[in-house]
Symmetry: C2
Subunit: 153 residues, 2 copies
DNA sequence: AACATTAATTAGAATAATTCTTGATCTCAA
DNA sequence: TTGAGATCAAGAATTATTCTAATTAATGTT
């Protein structure tokens, strides 16, 4: 085994770079740390399968199921965002600033697009210079009037 | 076979309501007509499975594969839009006006949200009155600067 | 440190939506 | 009418993801 087996987790492991993600009630385990590090090491938007491959470099024994579990936990904890483009495999991104995503149909890369405010100032997008936008998809989630009224009763 | 086998297709079948979708190079077949009618009959946002169920009422012999094929054709032809919310089953909508989608996490319904212009005036959304927005997702597709420059050479 | 409790990990099976494959059928145009 | 190409249908195959059940690890005590 490439990793030491003695216990090495805590609810708030210190990162080399000082970043200390808050997992709330979840435990910060070795696996979750590895998955989170994979996401922050490179600022692309890997799929679960890609995260799995990169994670195995740091922790050869990690399983795909665990990678899925970790990604879900990190997403639920709010320190990672899940990004869906069409029905392709989900991609994951540790950028928590409000931003949109720009997907290149050719090289399949996903780029963050800075956004001042979520709802209002979406007009002030800073797209990668020289890019061509073919399609914009906006999806909102929440509660419709009927359900919202329902919930209040 | 439940359906008559004699020919009954053309490139531009007239609808009862006068709408005449343009399929471009694709043929307007009976099946495609049925699937399109299902989408325009009700203005909700059915999944392929739901379209299949409704289509069978009009044409009992139609197959799920055909419904998928028809939906893809209609989408490619540009007379239907495919709507994805997270990784749930795709939903389909015949509203071609620029609009965003509002998804109710509770009743799972999808609502169209009028949009003046795609890119610019996204701030002028007309949400269903009394709704609560929890999350907004924006995804764009096109070509990144590298690929765009590449394509021009 | 050892224990109990609870959470997390793992491997593999299961699922759901979608796509693919293949052969039959249909349509258009010559 | 006939051939080429498009479309349809049934079911197999694929892909991403989730679930299941058993094992292992972590945490909070004693």
């Amino acid at each position: 085994m490439a990793e030491p087996t003695h216990s090495n987790t805590s609810r708030s492991i210190e990162r080399k770079d000082g970043k200390m993600p808050d997992l709330g009630d979840f435990r910060m385990t070795k696996q979750r740390r590895v998955v989170y590090d994979v996401l922050t090491d490179e600022l692309d938007h890997p799929t679960a399968a890609e995260v799995f491959i990169r994670s195995k470099e740091k922790m050869p024994g990690i399983s795909l199921a665990t990678v899925y579990n970790c990604l879900e936990t990190l997403t639920t904890a709010g320190i990672v965002r899940q990004v869906n483009v069409d029905r392709d495999a989900s991609r994951f991104c540790p950028n928590l600033n409000p931003h949109a995503h720009f997907f290149c149909s050719q090289c399949q890369n996903v780029f963050d697009v800075n956004l001042r405010e979520a709802a209002d100032a979406i007009s002030a997008w800073r797209l990668p210079n020289g890019s061509r936008v073919d399609q914009i998809e906006v999806a909102m989630k929440g509660a419709c009037p009927a359900c919202e009224a329902n919930a209040k009763n």
